[in-house]
Amino acid sequence: MESQTVFIILIIAVTAAVTVLLRAFPFLLFSTGKKCPEVISYIGKVLSPAAIAMLVIYCFCSVYRDKTFASGGFGIPELAGSITVIVLHWWKKNPLLSIICGTTVYMLILQNFF
């Protein structure tokens, strides 16, 4: 089998396994009526927003993996796209609208100017 195919299968297997284990975690551990340790529910609560914020930063860094800051447009496309998403979403609360408009703004600037 071609190596990318193997890799895709592995990715699907790993992501599915971790996701299912997470979903099953409380049922496996606390089925007998044991209570969840407080520190775990605390970490779970604070980790969600933190992990998403981390991934936003990671996305920005990952754009400049193969190109320099100057050739990528000094962050202008990312800034414009992000502002579009945040403002639109804060105001309209429609995820799809925010994602489509933000990505369109980003792609238009990137493809026409940089």
Binding site: I12, P26, Y42, C59, R65, S82, W90, I99
Partner: protein, 238 residues
């Protein structure tokens, strides 16, 4: 209650999810087809959406396939990205108690944010009806997601247009989730800590190696400032 009656209720309740999942799934499928250039991509879109129904993961996975991210990183990232699912189960323990093994397995496997919201909200007087309703909701939502992702990947293969920059859709999705979370005041400081940890990770490591140190850093910060943060969390509840 009659079988048809619960199905009608499940279907009506799942209508908003139908809109959301097909549209969001299509965006993820388009992104996948735009970045991973191979003739059978729709097939992989199908398998990946059926095996782990998860929005952010479906988007992030594209990047991992393109960059050949190490599998350990993939596992850890999935863990952090989807850690909230572990919390959902906690509030469904009682509701799912006593359900048959395979049915329970499917309910757990298919537990997304939206499905959780609908199931947690179901209030039928008897257990059997409740279970049937939950299964129907789960199956409907699951099929919307698989349909959306697969259709998106097919469309991406057929419609030729310049996809340069389409990977911003993933950034946009994370920004949307972050914006929603930051509406809740108590989430802002944890989000800030996550952001600072990520920047610190990037300062000391390369792009490909920044995430694990960042995750260790934020977890350490959360444990060190636990007392203060718990007080802060509690302040938002009353």
């Amino acid at each position: 209650m009659l079988k048809e009656k619960t199905f009608a209720k499940a279907f009506t309740a799942s209508l908003p999810v139908l809109m959301g999942y097909t549209a969001m799934g299509m965006a993820a499928g388009l992104l996948l087809a735009g970045r991973v250039n191979r003739p059978d991509i729709a097939l992989w879109a199908f398998f990946s959406s059926i095996s782990s129904i998860s929005g952010a993961l479906q988007f992030a996975m594209v990047d991992w396939i393109v960059n050949r991210t190490a599998l350990l990183d993939v596992a850890l990232l999935t863990l952090f990205l989807n850690i909230r699912y572990a919390m959902y189960g906690l509030s469904l323990l009682e509701k799912f108690r006593g359900i048959g093994f395979w049915k329970k397995c499917y309910l757990i496997w298919s537990l997304t944010d939206e499905t959780f919201a609908l199931e947690a909200d179901s209030r039928f007087p008897d257990k059997k009806t409740n279970t049937r309703y939950c299964l129907q909701v789960a199956l409907l939502n699951h099929s919307y997601w698989v349909f959306g992702v697969t259709a998106g990947a097919l469309a991406g293969k057929i419609i030729p247009f310049s996809t340069r920059g389409i990977d911003f859709a993933m950034t946009a999705l994370f920004l949307v989730v972050l914006t929603d979370q930051c509406r809740e005041r108590t989430n802002r400081i944890p989000a800030m800590i996550g952001m600072i940890s990520a920047i610190a990770g990037r300062v000391f490591f390369s792009v490909d190696n920044m995430l694990i140190p960042a995750m260790i850093l934020m977890t350490a910060a959360f444990l060190i400032f636990r007392k203060k943060l718990e007080k802060h969390l509690a302040s938002g509840e009353n």
